[in-house]
């Protein structure tokens, strides 16, 4: 099959770019977020996540993406914040060690823009999310960039005294850059 694809790629000029991007390169990828406390935007990130990806620009509808983010690897921008968000009121990492995103569909919006629908599960709660992303081929690899906003309240992230949104806002902007090698 692979040999056939290569043979076709040689014959068909249009198919020459048909590369499937599957090997996520962790060192060139990042999942970060921005939250607001008292009106101040603070940047954080997750140091570790694993992923499964297959994306062929020629067949976006067939694309698949799944991410498992290790919540204990959070960097909230402050060490005491890292300890705090691991607790039961926030991520409760002991009971829910990872957040999971699984795509359910990918729609090409024209140009290099795509819309990825999927299910985001955090702390035992699942929400449908729609994630806009761009794709840029860079040599043998491809870069996916995008961001979307979640409401931490939808996932019970920050309960008890943190449940009000006057100090730490409900909206959290999730930003990602995923670099994947093609094959």
């Amino acid at each position: 099959m692979k040999r056939l694809a290569i043979a076709l790629a040689c014959v068909l000029p249009g198919a020459a770019q048909a590369v499937e991007y599957t090997q996520v390169q962790a060192e060139k990828s990042a999942i970060a977020f921005t939250y607001k406390q008292m009106g101040v935007a603070v940047d954080g990130r997750f140091r570790r996540f694993s992923s499964h990806l297959s994306f062929d620009p020629a067949r976006p509808a067939a694309a698949r993406a799944a991410f498992d983010v290790e919540l204990a690897s959070v960097d909230t921008g402050a060490p005491e914040g890292d300890e705090e968000v691991a607790t039961r009121a926030w991520f409760n990492t002991r009971a829910f060690p990872s957040a999971r995103f699984v795509s359910t569909g990918v729609r090409a919006l024209g140009g290099n823009r795509y819309e990825v629908s999927g299910q985001l599960s955090i702390k035992g709660k699942t929400q449908e999310v729609v994630v806009p992303a761009t794709f840029t081929a860079q040599g043998n690899s491809g870069v996916f960039d995008g961001s979307f906003t979640i409401r931490r309240g939808d996932f019970s992230i920050g309960e008890g005294s943190w449940a009000k949104f006057d100090i730490v806002a409900n909206e959290v902007l999730i930003k990602f850059r995923i670099t994947a090698a093609g094959k």
Partner: protein
């Protein structure tokens, strides 16, 4: 004629005295608190008032330069006059250095200061943990120095009033004013 400060100089002096007492009390109280929404709120308030004090000190400096304060009484020896001037100079330096160190610390720790939650104050430094920790130490040492110098300032004013029985303390009180 009794030498006296201008009403503006007095107003700035006492307003900043109130702000600094509040900032010092809040600063020493909040930094040991466990993380909570209240702690984040208090930090924001501390920064907002700190920025306010930082703006006021420049206004005060301009006023100080353009309005000569009354001379120290001749009964003070030259050495004590020098000590008084040196003490005031240190207070002015600290009133600039302390908010500045707090501002830089916030930037280095990655928490921008947004004045009253509305006006973002530019970050002069990028995020840098080591630098942030160093600036935190500097901010604390400067404030401990500030507390010591303020104690000397208050002690000196009381000594002038109760022991030397001169007008050093009363000429800063609101009652007597030469206008402005």
């Amino acid at each position: 004629m009794t030498a006296c400060y201008t009403a503006t100089a007095k107003a700035l002096h006492w307003l900043m005295a109130i702000l600094f007492f509040g900032l010092l009390a809040l600063g020493f109280y909040m930094h040991d608190l466990p993380l909570s929404p209240e702690k984040l709120q208090l930090y924001s308030w501390h920064k907002w008032v700190g920025v306010t004090a930082f703006l006021l000190i420049w206004l005060r400096l301009v006023w100080r330069v353009t309005h000569r304060p009354p001379a120290l009484p001749a009964s003070m020896s030259p050495m004590w006059q020098l000590a008084a001037h040196a003490g005031h100079l240190v207070l002015y330096v600290l009133m600039i250095a302390i908010p500045l160190s707090g501002w830089l610390m916030s930037s280095a720790k990655g928490f921008q200061t947004v004045w009253f939650g509305v006006l973002p104050i530019p970050d002069l430094l990028g995020k840098d943990k080591e630098l942030g920790d160093l600036l935190q130490t500097i901010h604390m040492v400067l404030n401990l120095t500030f507390v010591a110098v303020i104690a000397g300032h208050i002690g000196a004013a009381l000594k002038h009033h109760f022991i030397d029985k001169d007008d050093i303390l009363t000429r800063m009180l609101p009652a007597k004013s030469r206008g402005n």
